[in-house]
């Protein structure tokens, strides 16, 4: 099936040029990075831009670095780059877990983390790690910079706080805990690639501090603040975990769709929370855990 809509295509060589175009066209222009979401949407007639602004030639936008503990990513950083970034596993294991579950190699070689959060689908795998690590999205327009906390970024299914004249220039993540570890667990329908029917990120440190976030359980990904409040300052034990599991239905508003029922999503979320807390604790103790084996099935 061909792409029916027609549009202009620009390939600015620097950020100023790109910002000028965005300021001029506003919603009528879309930024093209990896394109794995955008091209598919074009083909299905879901979007009708007049102009695509391809930012892949702009130098310096594909940097990934940890500076004073903070992870800084440019908008052209692909999931493959993230996965191959050596320090990620130690410092931000939850983000490594999530990156590895996104689609497949051929998609990850193009798809960018920034593009992912701009698509803002409720089942966004990268969202729970970003939420747990208090990520900030850096946006730029001719008017100036804005730094949007990830909690404020997702405003609805496929909707973000990005303004029509803005381009995302990077994301930063904080370690949050002095020496913590985390894990991302995702429910799919089988061993192959799948959009999350539910995904949970759990961050933990040696002093009983916790961050918990989920995706695919409401119109936007979110922190599980009630569960965090319950757990905070307490050592994990069977009774505490059970209490946390009992809180799950209050934290989430899943729907029934063709991928899963709300009953199963709720049930699995409890199981994921339990196993995720225990696995995060094991990782903290230095154990090597592959999250993909934790739910059975592969």
């Amino acid at each position: 099936m061909a792409i029916a809509p027609t549009f202009e295509y620009a390939r600015p060589r620097n950020l100023e040029e790109a910002l000028r175009l965005k300021a001029q066209y506003r919603e009528r222009a879309l930024v093209l990075a990896g394109g794995t979401d955008l091209i598919a949407n074009l083909r299905e007639d879901m979007i009708h831009p007049e102009l695509l602004i391809d930012i892949k030639d702009i130098p310096g936008l594909d940097k990934i670095v940890i500076e004073a503990g903070t992870l800084k990513l440019g908008p052209l950083v692909t999931f493959t780059q993230l996965i191959e970034f050596g320090p990620l596993g130690k410092s931000f294991p939850m983000l490594l877990d999530a990156s590895r579950t996104v689609a497949s190699v051929g998609i990850r070689n193009r798809a960018t983390l920034v593009g992912n959060i701009c698509s803002a689908v409720p089942s966004l795998d990268s969202a729970p790690p970003l939420l747990c690590h208090e990520a900030v999205v850096h946006c730029l327009s001719l008017e100036g910079e804005r730094h949007i906390r990830i909690d404020d970024w997702f405003t609805g299914p496929r909707k973000t706080a990005l303004k029509p004249d803005e381009i995302v220039t990077g994301i930063t993540l904080q370690p949050v805990f002095h020496s913590g570890s985390g894990i991302y667990l995702k429910l799919g329908r089988y061993g192959g690639e799948d959009l999350a029917q539910t995904g949970w990120g759990i961050l933990i440190d040696g002093a009983n501090h916790y961050r918990v976030a989920h995706c695919a359980l409401g119109p936007v990904p979110a922190r599980a603040s009630k569960i965090e409040a319950l757990l905070d300052g307490n050592q994990l034990n069977e009774a505490l975990i059970q209490q946390a599991m009992d809180l799950v239905p209050e934290e989430i508003s899943p729907i029934t769709d063709i991928r899963s029922s709300k009953e199963y999503r709720t049930h699995i979320s409890k199981v994921i929370l339990k196993r995720g807390l225990l696995a995060a604790r094991e990782r903290l103790a230095g154990k090597d855990i592959d999250p993909r084996t934790l739910l059975g099935g592969i």
Binding site: M1, A2, I3, A4, P5, T6, F7, E8, Y9, R11, L32, G35, T36, I39, A40, L42, R43, L52, D54, K56, T80, A103, S104, V105, G106, I107, N109, R110, G192, E193
Partner: protein
């Protein structure tokens, strides 16, 4: 219409394209390379896989204009004179049946072996997890790759 210039299978090529034509369409309909196939047009099946600057990508999700200045490799370009040792091993092991997924899988494995000359079975599986094969059940593909690695080792 824009004119794009790219390196395709080690040759300098150019084509006139509309902005809404995908790389897959242009490779097949304007540049005469038929091995990348159209299977789903959503990036779900991997039949359209080509290597761009050495990396496996889904050419159905890339606009032709994006390929300007880049280097594209398809199965025809892997082996201009004779088949690669990996390809010969696939033949020996009867790894493919209808053959429609073969070009994509061969390129995906080629990319893997460039950076991981001795991958584990798990790594092999993951490298082709986005290439759907309906015929073989994948096992004869794994067997051939594992045998190829052992032979390269010697």
């Amino acid at each position: 219409m824009k004119e794009i210039h790219l390196t395709l299978n080690h040759e300098e090529r150019s084509a006139w394209v509309e902005t809404n034509e995908t790389l897959l369409e242009v490779l097949r309909d304007k540049l005469g390379v038929k091995s990348p196939k159209c299977g789903c047009e959503r990036g779900d099946c991997g039949a359209c896989t080509v290597l761009m600057d050495g990396k496996a990508i889904r050419s159905c999700l890339v606009l032709a204009v994006e390929a300007e200045g880049h280097s594209i490799l398809t199965v025809e370009g892997l082996s201009p004179d004779k088949l690669t040792a990996l390809q010969e091993t696939f033949i020996e092991f009867n790894s493919f049946q209808c053959g429609f997924c073969a070009p994509g899988i061969i390129l995906a494995i080629t990319e893997l072996l460039e950076s991981h000359p001795k991958p584990s079975l798990e790594e092999i599986k993951e490298s082709i997890a986005g290439n759907l094969c309906r015929c073989t059940g994948y096992t004869p593909i794994f067997d051939a790759v594992m045998a190829h690695i052992q032979r390269e080792d010697k």
